[in-house]
Amino acid sequence: MASRAADFPVAGGAGAGFRFRLPPVGAVVPLVALLMAWQIACLTGLFPPQVLVPPSGVARALVDMTQSGELQRHVGDSLFRLTVGFAIGAVAGMAFGAVIALSRLAEAALSPLFMTLWQVPVIAFVPMMVMFLGIDEPFKLAVVAIAAFFPMALATFDGIRGVPRNWFEVAKVYRLRLPQLIRRILLPATVPAVLTGLRVSLTRAWVVLVAAELLAADSGIGQMMEMGRQLFQIDVVLAGVMVSGLIGFLLDRGARWVESRATRWRAA
């Protein structure tokens, strides 16, 4: 039996939960193909340059905006809002989800309202919030926080409610005290669901933030695009599309990475 120990795969060893080091070649092909088709469509004059700028033009705009520091400023502003708003919304969502999961009374009182509000697209809150908060920072932070709040609350609720009763019985058999029960059983058992919720709400918050900036802002990646549209700088608009898409992609990947690291104990 002991001899078998040699070929037993140690958790965290090579390969475990570490899948995104390099994008596989296969994933790059469609991207390159799209860029090529786009470039050709522009070169052949299929679309006039006022409507569609070729990728090379977008690349030039990106370089220019990077050199002037404009791009960094917009991206920085957006990421700052995302960070602060998301932190507020996610923490509030976790707390709310935990409360309605742990208290039947709170659940009965609050979950219908929660479920109703959840059905409202976050963007639909924007006009009202602009009226109350103006279009400055508090408005954008609030939009992000609301976008993060709902999926986070739901994930936390599901995570806590999903802890099997069987595990509480084991805790009882070994006479775990409440703090031990929370730290050693309840928290780790809830982590996977909460992390999935974090990932979903992070990417959601990003999408909603860019949309809110398009509607009302004085800086940020969305505002950069809106300004580009107003000034007929299609290259700037497209650069914004690419940058916001890339950031969303990286946020998702980063969150997935954290998720797989934190839950390495799960079956592959």
């Binding site: 009882k172 070994y174 058992a189 104990w265």
Partner: protein
Amino acid sequence: MTPYPHAREDRLSAKTGRGELIVSDLNKSFTINGQPRRILDNINLTVRPGEFVSIVGASGCGKSTLLRLIVGLDTEYSGELRLDGERIATTSLDRGIVFQDHRLFPWMTLEQNIELALLNTDTPRARRAQIVADHIALVNLKGFEKAYPHQLSGGMAQRAAIARALVTEPRLLLLDEPLGALDALTRVHVQSELQRIWMAQRSTMVMVTHDVEEALYLGDRVIVMSPNPGRIRRIVEVDLPHPRDRRSPLLHRLKDEILAELTSGADADGDAGNLVHLPSREAR
């Protein structure tokens, strides 16, 4: 609750004369659809210190319910449950249980899972690692200390669960179909290990099983239960020293007797039909 000397040499002497379970006039009802339903009816049983008792009976006759009462997870009953004279009112580190599903925590390594059981014992911290290692060796899992449950086979996980239950050195160990989910070959293997462990520890053990052969191979006595409501139908003494030989003619004769008992007198609803073949999965 008296603390145990944890020195290994002391185990045998410290254990003998302890772990006597007395069940008297035990009745248990559940409310099903608003109607109280008698599940256990007038159970009387004395398990001697260091004895191995097996329980067999039709699915649904209340075996798990009985074990849950003894371990203290369910405290609504009438009658008396006493371990060494002390009335059972809740769970205690003196009473261990192995469930049919191993119930190891997936985010803890094998070692951490077993260590969890020692968290609230008075075992000195310095000795815990050694005690955990001893118990991992006891169930032949050396080399897998850092493995997570999903990296263990079913039989290994079940042995780990047995180690976790033993590590607190309970006076009484309850086993609820601990081998029910294993294939026949692994099962025979773990049965032998269980017998070896019990012979080394000599703590009192009560095991529920669907497998009459298993019940006879391990048990000093086999309790045969009948369903609706759950009653003790018969108690079979297995007068054969341990370690036992599976081919013993006595075991085979008793097996035929018990099987006849279980199938003949069983209620017309055919509960006994799935007695031997279908280990029930505990509802989650």
